[in-house]
Amino acid sequence: MTGRFRRLDETDRALVRLTVDGSEITALEGDTLMVAMLNSGLALRNAEFGPERRAGFCLMGACQDCWVRDTDGNALRACSTPVENGLAITTQPLTADWSVAP
């Protein structure tokens, strides 16, 4: 088990495939992006102003700790975004030329 979260129930759902930093992970239909990422990993992103990794905090859209980006640079609030097949997520901070990203 490599994830932070533990599934306790509702495991009988269709599989969804997405990529995080290029590696494929599987999730279940109806998962939030946060649950998908934290069932296969320990964190969502790096803190901007500290050494630590962050994994969200409130799960209700209030703390804004769980923002990640898709590979097009769109910001997604992981705790309130449902997963979709083919979603490609990057947990790396934007590169310094963020503004010319595709």
């Binding site: 804004q64 769109n74 901070p93 934007l94 310094a96 030329d97 963020w98 503004s99 010319v100």
Partner: protein
């Protein structure tokens, strides 16, 4: 019963950047100073503004004052003993493709500015995009001023106030002056709670509120209180060095942005809202936030993907000709004014303080300020 009075060589009404920097430079010249502030120092226009330390675009006749201010900004940290986050990373002024007539104006301005010691480099849209790839295709041309920059407005005026206090100035917050008069040789100022202050020289740096005080000395100025529209994004990797703004005659298109070293991008401009000096309130009108976003996307399309985490505004007094009132009173000897900076007082602020201190201490300054005389509204 007589209330005890505080006395000094110079009393200053208004603790914005103008009042705080004047207090500092007066104290540096050995004068005793009382600085009186209704609220807290540097929390009004001086603490809420965009933070542009920009000379280009100012009236040519203002450049000597702006150059003086620039010199102070460059050494501010050493002078004040605290970091005001001044970054001298340049300023770009651009015009949009649908206003080609502005290119000629920019060229003309650059020629005149050079004579005043401000070097501007004119660049085509493509040259600009090569150096600053985040600029949009809507940008036709621009002018780059390498020696301009930006600073943190929340820190600047309080830093001047603390430095002035170290030199002996008395900075008195939570003190609203409701009555000011010259009685004999002295100005006598009365606070809302009855406390009194006395000084032979009075400097009024009361920002958007100055009209009320000025009228007590028989002079009139019309100040329109407005509230520029500000926003700030989430932090993103630090990659935009210069501050950027649009040159246009249309207020709605006048947008600008800068990135602070921590990564947040400060966005400003577009239509200003009214503000309410009596209530000490200003509000951001959401429709102005929306037009601001719209024109920012023309300026730098990639901003569209960033999240805005906060909007704010502040109270600024605008004169009818958008020039400040600066210099001696036209009616009362010993009375001096520096207010009405009309949305562009931050950069020149420290220069205003030093110039007013010089004028008060020596009776003279070489900085041309005649055009800012209150008499012009007479």
């Amino acid at each position: 019963m007589s209330t005890p009075e505080l006395t000094a060589d110079v009393a200053i009404i208004g603790g914005g950047l103008m009042g705080c920097s004047a207090a500092f430079f007066l104290a540096q010249r050995g004068l005793s100073v009382i600085l009186l502030e209704t609220d807290k120092v540097g929390r009004q226009a001086s603490g809420t503004n965009f933070g542009n330390v920009r000379r280009q675009g100012r009236p040519i006749t203002q450049l000597p004052l702006a150059n003086r201010a620039s010199r102070i900004w460059r050494q501010a940290n050493e002078l004040l003993g605290s970091d005001v986050e001044y970054l001298q990373n340049g300023h770009i002024r651009v015009c949009f493709r649908d206003r080609p007539e502005n290119v000629g104006k920019m060229e003309e301005y650059a020629v005149q500015a050079r004579e005043e010691g401000l070097d501007l480099e004119l660049l085509s849209g493509n040259m600009l995009r090569e150096r600053f790839p985040w600029l949009g295709t809507d940008v036709l041309a621009g002018s780059h001023s390498a020696m301009d920059g930006h600073a943190n407005p929340r820190l600047a005026a309080p830093a001047f106030a603390r430095a002035a206090m170290k030199l002996g100035a008395r900075v008195i917050e939570d003190t609203k002056i409701v009555h000011a008069a010259k009685i004999g040789e002295d100005f006598v100022l009365e606070a809302e709670d009855g406390r009194r202050f006395r000084a032979p020289t009075l400097l009024v740096t009361a920002g958007a509120w100055a009209g009320k005080i000025v009228s007590q000395f028989g002079e009139t100025v019309k100040l329109t209180p407005r509230a520029p529209t500000m926003s700030v994004t989430e932090p993103v990797p630090y990659s935009i060095l210069p501050a950027v703004g649009v040159m246009t005659p249309d207020e709605v298109e006048t947008v600008y942005f800068r990135q602070v070293a921590r990564g947040n991008i400060v966005l400003g401009g577009s239509t200003r809202a009214p503000s309410y000096p009596d209530e000490y309130r200003s509000y951001v009108m959401p429709q102005n936030t929306m037009t601001q976003f719209q024109h920012l996307r023309r300026l730098a399309p990639a901003l569209a993907k960033l999240q805005v985490i906060r909007v704010w505004s502040g109270i600024e007094g605008y004169t009818d000709d958008a020039l400040p009132v600066m210099g001696p009173s036209g009616t009362v000897p010993g009375l001096f004014y520096a207010f009405g900076f009309s949305g562009s007082g931050f950069q020149i602020g420290p220069g205003v303080g030093e110039t007013m201190a010089e004028l008060i201490a020596t009776g003279h300054t070489d900085i041309p300020i005649g055009q800012y005389s209150i008499g012009r509204f007479g």
